[in-house]
Amino acid sequence: MLEKLTPGTELDGFVIGERIHSGAQGVIIGVASPDAEYALIMKVPRVGQGESSESLLSFETEAMILPALSGPHVPRFVAVGDLARTPYLVTEWVEGESLEYWLDGGRLPAVEVARVGAAIADALHSVHLQHTIHLDLKPENVILKRDGTAVLIDFGLAHHAHYPDLLAEEERFAAGSAPYISPEQVLDDRSDSRSDIFSLGVVLYEMATGEMPFGMPETMKGMRDRLWRDPVPPRSIAKGMAPWLQEIILRCLETRADDRYQSAAYVAFDLRNPEQVVLTERATKLESASLFEQVRRWWNSHDHLPITRRRPLVPATEAPMVMVAVDTSHPNDQRHPALQRATSRILSLSGEFRLICVSVIRAAPLVEGSGGTATASGLHLEHLVRLRHWVEPLGLPAQRLSLHVIESANPADTLLEFARRNNVNIIVLGAPGPKEHTLAWWRSVASSVTAGAHCSVYVVRVPTVRSGAGVIDEDAAAYPPAQFGW
């Protein structure tokens, strides 16, 4: 079929253009269609005598999964040809630069690693929310768009929880790209979304150091090394690397999936908020584990293999980001205890939830002769202290918590934008209280946030006293997010 696809010919209404790429798996051709509002490409697998079944299975997998995906982080699906007669897949041609060319073997400054890494983590999170694991994350499968976002391409090795996994039985090649794949993938487990987080760690390592954490293994034995060997700490390669970046990279690269970040949204958040990253011994170490430790792990990796136990796909929504809006401008407001209880109850549902506390304050008025800047930062600090005081009773460990004071004249828009940018799953905030005339601006915040949010919003109402009746339970008045089934 490939030889028939010469420029100018037509296939099912698509006018064949130039070949963009030709590889072992197949070819990619630019195509035109009168209906298309954007540039298109056609992927055609190599099939027939002498070709491996690999390209066809990958093709079939992508043709099954891509139509089910949507959003700005995947190429738009256009059409698929009959697999038995004329297999082809037409998708949007993503305008941008491949991370592979962009990197070009070099080393990037921490700020760039964080920016690009967070964009990739956002893309992974979006795909994970759609029940899909990419399983082949590497620079050549990441397109960086001009607006700073990332698009993931090539879902030929992906796994979708709602579709049969055609590759699961094919131990021979279901693995992915040797330098990037997770320990689970080495052991043929294709059902864990945290595999993508490991691969993201490899990409971050590569961007930050210019080297590969596990080299370029060509044998199965070489690939198994990552079951027990830990990578050379990036800070010993890239001298002067910030400890927070090493902390993030090495946490992504943990052998046991349970020890990694549990959600790509958490990686994105940490990369965007380096000052909030809790540093552990990972952050500062300059050497790999001792020989004794590595031998112990090597022995374990052959023995009971703690990471091999099969587990279901962890939906990204089960490791959510909870954002609570705290009005630190009114510390004595009677709604605070109710808001604390509601937040605490949501967090008690899982040990994985992260809490982002946000206080939006009005910009400090510039009082003549008071030294503007000093006052502003003093005010900022004061609210940060109040925010910490507010959250302390919840007893959260530092790594599950972050605090943000933002100056803005428009709290609702600021909260919504902050929630969206940080992949927040639930926003918790107070409903307008009975003495609302004193807090007039807050009234509109609850309603605007509820109306404009991209996620669930839990509006906490303070008990009100009715004449002749008891106190109304605050629970009955709160709107629980549907996904918790309260």
Partner: protein, 246 residues
Amino acid sequence: MIIALLSDIHANLQALDTCLRHAHDNGAVRYAFLGDLVGYGSDVQAVVDVVSRYAAAGAVVVKGNHDEAIDRRAGYMNESAQEAINWARKMLDGEAKVFLAGLPLCVREDKLCFVHASASFPERWDYIDSKTAASESIEAAERVYTFSGHVHDQMLYFQTGMDKIGAFKPVPGTAIPVGSHRRWLALVGSVGQPRDGNPAAAYAMFDTTREQITFYRIPYNHHAAALNIREAGLSEMLAYRVQKGI
């Protein structure tokens, strides 16, 4: 063309009616009943009447082991199942018995094979409970698509590139692409007596044009169905199972 695939109705009229209405509303133009019209439940005559009407209009109907047991005593059934069969034998009229006795074990049409249990020796009523059993049935069916029941849980088996068998537990309501370049075996679940802890009726629809199969779980008034079994004087265990979906 969309074909509704209904199996293991087990004399549960409420469940059958609900599924047939759902199938019709979702574009089904053909119907295939994959056996075990009777047994366990109390609406024996009514269910056989409905299915024979569909058969007269061109529906595929194959025989299940409970249907066979009406005129041929089955030694392997447990006490409550046997009791329900004995009761059904008394309740069914002559025409219904003739209809059940005349059902084929297996029907092959073009790319499709319909069989209650395994297409490999359908009369042995072997359960498709492993990849090996699925593989044997797919081979014996000699068709691209094999649709079966007998096992009350929904499952989709498929041949992979290396002629191995994959097994997939379907997510209800998701249209799964099932290309005709490989072979598939779908266990469509039980309309009348689901056993996975969810009392909702199970069935599936196959779209021959788009080559997609969708498995469904349809809630129906299972408390009423359980009440019917109790009122018929059948074993309390059978009513309880329908009520709880176990």
